[in-house]
């Protein structure tokens, strides 16, 4: 299973965060985290 992940990235508590896009491939039979 191939997925596109839109993940919230934020370096510091006071810093402005943003969504970044990643691709993951061959995901199967596992849990989310």
């Amino acid at each position: 299973m191939n997925l596109t992940l839109k993940v919230w990235r934020q370096k510091e508590p006071k810093e402005k965060g943003a969504i970044e896009t990643y691709q993951v491939k061959e995901i199967s039979r596992i849990v989310f985290s």
Binding site: L3, V7, R9, Q10, K11, P13, V24, I30, F32, S33
Partner: protein, 213 residues
């Protein structure tokens, strides 16, 4: 799955995604995440660490965000500071037991079956904060009421019940959690199925304690 992503990021020299996890079997309350607009993602009665990837389809786009609430500030990426819950617990989420050697055997105290069952159900709250993240007001009423109920329903917790509810609610308000408007979203998204009945119980106890103290 997030480990797979992080391995990819590390191998390509990029910063891995910070996220909370610990037991990875749905009992510690460390994992969080807002997945496709739902606390702990799709599926009933599961935490993020119990969420199987079979819940998603090949080619799907998944949005992963931290729990959002004023009282849960983002520390980094998907990690939020949930120490407000610890401070609420420190304000009253305990019972005082004399440990001088004359401690009462808990099993020797008769407890109504109905009360024991309700206390046990309340005690299954793992303090993950999904209720807060889901609530439009970022209210922590479900969490606090579960802790209040768990203790006040049992004889060991009755002694300090009034002061406990006053102190815990006071701390909850101080931490910046919002008010409860009874939408019931918290109960729907709670991975442990904590009932709104606990909020009703806490409100009754709070009103009684406030009137008598």
């Amino acid at each position: 799955m997030l480990d797979v992503l992080n391995n990819q990021l590390i191998e390509s020299g990029k910063e891995p995604v910070a996220f909370d996890h610990d037991c990875r079997e749905g009992i510690c309350g460390m994992c969080s995440l807002y997945i496709n607009g739902e606390a702990h993602g799709p599926g009933d009665g599961v935490t993020t660490c119990q969420l199987h990837m079979r819940s998603f389809k090949d080619g799907e786009t998944i949005y992963i965000e931290p729990f959002r609430a004023k009282a849960f500030p983002v520390v980094k990426d998907l990690v939020v500071d949930r120490s407000a819950f610890d401070r609420i617990m420190a304000a009253g989420g305990f019972i005082s037991v004399n440990t001088s050697g004359n401690t009462q055997d808990a099993n020797a105290l008769p407890i109504q079956k109905e009360h024991a069952d309700k206390a046990f159900d309340a005690a299954t709250c793992i303090g993950c904060g999904a209720c807060v993240a889901t609530c439009k007001n970022s209210s922590a009423m479900l969490f606090v009421s579960a802790k209040v109920s768990q203790l006040s329903l049992l004889p060991q917790g009755e002694v300090e019940a009034q002061q406990r509810v006053l102190n815990m609610v006071h701390q909850m308000d101080k931490e910046g959690f919002g008010n409860c408007t009874n939408t019931g979203a918290c109960e729907v998204e709670c991975p442990k199925g904590i009932s709104l009945e606990n909020i009703a119980r806490m409100n009754r106890e709070y009103m009684k304690a406030a009137a008598e103290n």
